[in-house]
Structure formats: structure tokens, C-alpha cells
């Protein structure tokens, strides 16, 4: 039955090559920790993606309760933390995951750097990876404000002040981030939109590029 359904779809859309390409490619020995324990360094990229998936899922559940306005943001986070069933776990995953994803990404970057894997023909994938790094830092910066406690508020205020001191572009960056002349209600909704829509959108596009390129080029050979 399932096979018939699959064949029916495959006949029309020719889907076999798509998943066979993902599934059937060979993984070389030198990146397989089962054969060489030191190859665990090749796991960092996959783990970064794994934590990113956890971030997306926990973030989706957080938005079920979170309210991005200055009177309720804090209260909704407090409610989530102390009243909602498993809220403390879901928020914990998102809070600690934000740090862990930076750590994993940094380790992945170091692995790629020290194995020289960014060299021709993989230059573009390295550049896309760096863009992912910056988008992740942006997600960290915008997400930090959302609980709207003093730590969040003053870190963002100082962050925006630092950005505003940049010559020429400073005032524009300040207005863009702040959405007005003070760090306040507009800033919160803006950071929420950036954190939940704009930056994840950019992240997905970059990740797709990252994965398509690695699939096309294959992993770099042994040293």
C-alpha cells in the first residue's frame, strides 16, 4: 500500500533522486568516530545543527506564552518559568541552548579552520558559514532583550549605545535597532520581530546554502 503510494508519487514527481542523494552518499572513514576516535571533531557541525533544531522547537513553544509588550513580556516569562507545565524545561532549553549553539558553532569553526577545510574549492561554504555565525550572534543579541528584566534591558541599552557610537552609520543603526529615541516599547517589538521572523528566515536560507554546498562538494578529504 505504502509502496504503491510512493510509486504513484514517484512516477509523477521523480522524488527518488532527491532522497537517495541525501541518504546514499558515502561517509568516508576519516570523519567517522567509530573508526578513529579523534574524528569526533567532525561531529561539531552536526551538533550545531541539532542544537539549532532544539532552539527552533523550544522557541516555537515559547511563543505560545510569550507576549512582546513592555508590561506583559516579563510577566509572561515569569508565568512560563513558574506556572506552565514543563515551562522551566522549555525555557531552560532555549536559554542554555543559545549559549551551547555558540560554543558548538565556534568548535565547528575551529575544526574547519585547523583542518584547512575552507580552502579551494570550499571558500564559498566558509563565507556562508561565517554569515551563519553572525546571524547566530544577532539572534543571541535580540533574544537577550526579550525577558525584559533589568539585565536584558540594560545590556541592550548599552549595546545600542555602542552601536550608535559607530561613525557615520551609528545614528542609523541606533534608530533601526531602537525604533525610536529611547530603548522602550518599540525596541522590544522590533527585537521580537527580528528574533522570531527576520533572523531565522536569513538563518534558514544560509543553512540551506551551507548544506547544499557540502552535499555538492562532499566533505574535505583526509589530511
Amino acid at each position: 500500500m505504502l509502496k504503491k503510494m510512493y510509486n504513484w508519487i514517484d512516477e509523477r514527481l521523480d522524488i527518488t533522486p532527491m532522497w537517495r542523494d541525501v541518504a546514499d552518499h558515502e561517509v568516508p572513514e576519516h570523519v567517522n568516530p567509530a573508526h578513529h576516535f579523534s574524528a569526533f571533531v567532525y561531529c561539531f557541525g552536526g551538533l550545531t545543527f541539532f542544537i539549532t533544531i532544539l532552539q527552533i522547537l523550544s522557541g516555537m513553544f515559547l511563543t505560545m506564552y510569550y507576549v512582546p509588550d513592555i508590561t506583559n513580556a516579563y510577566k509572561s516569562v515569569d508565568f512560563l518559568q513558574h506556572e506552565v507545565a514543563f515551562g522551566v524545561i522549555v525555557r531552560g532549553m532555549h536559554h542554555w541552548g543559545a549559549s551551547l549553539v555558540i560554543v558548538m558553532m565556534f568548535l565547528h569553526t575551529l575544526r574547519v579552520f585547523f583542518t584547512g577545510s575552507y580552502k579551494a574549492p570550499r571558500e564559498m561554504n566558509w563565507v556562508v558559514g561565517m554569515l551563519i555565525f553572525m546571524v547566530m550572534l544577532g539572534l543571541g543579541f535580540t533574544g537577550y532583550l526579550l525577558p525584559w528584566d533589568n539585565k536584558a534591558y540594560f545590556a541592550t541599552k548599552v549595546g545600542i549605545q555602542i552601536a550608535a557610537s559607530v561613525p557615520l552609520l551609528g545614528p542609523y543603526i541606533e534608530t533601526f535597532l531602537q525604533g525610536g529615541s529611547i530603548t522602550g516599547a518599540q525596541t522590544l517589538t522590533r527585537f521580537f520581530a527580528l528574533h522570531v521572523f527576520f533572523l531565522p528566515g536569513a538563518l534558514f536560507a544560509l543553512l540551506a546554502g551551507h548544506f547544499i554546498m557540502i552535499r555538492k562538494q562532499g566533505i574535505s578529504g583526509p589530511l
Partner: protein, 296 residues
């Protein structure tokens, strides 16, 4: 339509009028014969191993989450001038940069743009700066040592910044808010009650008491809506704190830093009766009853 007729000359046959090729046998991607050894298929062989690593990481991660609930301080208060601002840990190295002379004040552009720009710019353009064929790090001394040096610098700056913060907390005798609040909650204190900013409305603004208030010297400090200003406290809800007689006494003798106002108001043309009416009116300034508030 060209697709309707399948002549033998045609090499590519499509499904109906679509662009999907018909009956093409799948050609598997080339294997890694360039790397002889124990290569294996991605699905399921390798992915299952990868998931095992993922499970170990997930267990460690969940243990961390359960051991350390995520922090939450007190609600943001823009007027709080004592709070020490700190970014998340992975921004600390850039934050610390701005605390050095020649990287701050007149030279702040070095700390905000030039050094971080060089760092991230060089990292992004690494493949175009390090173009040699050699991949082993010990055969690329310049690239590797620059990376190690930057890494050491980032770690050093982060540690110094964190140490400085801890020291600042210590000398100012500050317990970080998220720790304080968690402790209070654990001790069963009702922190949320204090966080609640209840705005008490003015009572009886159309009464004669308010007209007298507007004519009196009270207005200049406690403001036209009784909301107070700067260091002058609000009079909203004052009836919960003082009785009419106590208010008369405060007007006659002052309280705290507030000087006596009774006589100066008399000289300014208000009568004793009017001031007594004002005190009676102020005594009616009470917060709405709990029931009324919750019924709203």
C-alpha cells in the same frame, strides 16, 4: 505539444506535459574511492552513530537545564541607575575592548569598528588570505598562529571582563537580581506583589477639595494629578496612610523634609475652613478596594 509524441529519436521522455523525466534509472552518487577505507552509507549506518553522539549531548544538556533553571531578574526599570549592565558571555570580549585607553572615548572607533572589523573580516576572508594548497595546520604557521593568538586574546578578554564584573559586585555588595529573586521565591516571599506597579487613581477630582488643592501651595510640589514629581512623593492613596487629623497636622508642622505649609497658605488667601476641607478631601484619596479592582 512536443511532449505528446514519443518518437524513438527523442532521448528524453517526460511524464505527461511536465518536466519530470520518465523512467530514468537513478544514478547513485559517486563513492569516495578517492579515500580508500571503511566508508559507509550516510543513512542509516552513519546517521545512527551520529544520533548516538546526539543522545549523549542531549542528556548532558538536559542535566544542565534541570540543575540550573534559566535566570530571571526583576522587571526592567529604566530609572534604575545602580544596575551594572552586562551583555551575554559571548559578547564580553568586545565589551571589554572598550574599557582600554586608545580603544575608548576619542579612539572608540578602534574598539567598535576597526578591531572587531579586522577580526571578523579576516576570519570571513580566510580562504582568500590563506590560499596555499597545504591544509595541515602545522604547515601553515602564519594562519594557525594568528588564529591561536586571536583565540587566546578572546579568552583572556572574556575572563578579565567576567572577573571585573564579579569584583564590582563584591565591592558594591550586590547580589545579582536573578539569584536574589530566585532565593526570595524559594523562601516563599511574594516578590510578584512588589513588582506589581499599581497606579492608584485620583478620587473626587470634581469636588471642591480639588479646587482648593489647585489654589494651594501643595500643587507646586505634588503636581496637578497628585502624582508627585522627582523626590516629592505622590499623594495618591494618601488616605490609606493618614487620617484627616494627621493630614492637618502635617500641613501645620511639616513632615520629613517637607516644611509646614499651613500659615503660608493662609497668607496666600486660603481660609482655615478651606484647608480643613482640603485635608478631608485628601483623606478620601484611597486605593480602590481589592474586590472592586478584581471585579473590573
Amino acid at each position: 505539444m512536443a511532449h505528446d509524441h514519443h518518437s524513438k529519436d527523442e532521448k528524453v521522455i517526460y511524464v505527461g506535459d511536465s518536466r519530470v523525466k520518465q523512467g530514468g534509472k537513478f544514478v547513485p552518487p559517486p563513492d569516495y574511492s578517492a579515500y580508500p577505507g571503511k566508508s559507509e552509507a550516510f543513512i542509516p549506518n552513519f546517521l545512527l552513530k551520529e544520533w548516538m553522539v546526539g543522545c549523549v549531548v542531549l542528556i548532558g544538556f538536559l542535566a544542565l537545564i534541570i540543575a540550573h533553571p534559566s535566570p530571571l531578574g526583576y522587571p526592567a526599570d529604566p530609572n534604575n541607575s545602580a544596575f551594572i549592565p552586562m551583555p551575554d558571555w559571548y559578547f564580553l570580549f568586545m565589551y571589554q575592548l572598550l574599557k582600554y585607553p586608545y580603544l575608548s572615548e576619542d579612539y572608540v572607533v578602534f574598539g567598535t569598528v576597526i578591531i572587531p572589523g579586522l577580526l571578523f573580516g579576516a576570519l570571513t576572508l580566510a580562504p582568500f588570505l590563506d590560499t596555499g594548497k597545504e591544509r595541515r595546520f602545522y604547515k601553515r604557521p602564519i594562519a594557525s598562529s594568528l588564529m591561536l593568538l586571536s583565540f587566546a586574546a578572546v579568552v583572556y578578554l572574556t575572563v578579565v571582563s567576567w572577573d571585573h564584573y564579579q569584583h564590582e559586585l563584591e565591592i558594591n555588595n550586590i547580589i545579582p537580581e536573578h539569584i536574589e529573586r530566585a532565593e526570595k521565591l524559594a523562601a516563599g516571599e511574594d516578590v510578584r506583589e512588589e513588582e506589581e506597579e499599581t497606579v492608584i487613581p485620583i478620587v473626587g477630582q470634581s469636588e471642591v477639595g480639588y479646587e482648593i488643592y489647585e489654589a494651594s501651595s501643595c500643587l507646586s510640589c505634588h503636581a496637578s494629578g497628585l502624582e508627585g514629581q522627582a523626590s516629592f512623593p505622590p499623594l495618591l492613596g494618601i488616605g490609606d496612610k493618614y487620617t484627616e487629623d494627621e493630614l492637618v497636622d502635617i500641613m501645620k508642622n511639616g513632615i520629613g523634609t517637607m516644611p509646614a505649609q499651613w500659615d503660608s497658605n493662609i497668607t496666600n488667601g486660603l481660609t482655615e475652613d478651606e484647608l480643613n476641607t482640603l485635608a478631608a478631601w485628601l483623606a478620601t484619596q484611597k486605593a480602590p478596594a481589592e474586590d472592586a479592582a478584581s471585579a473590573e
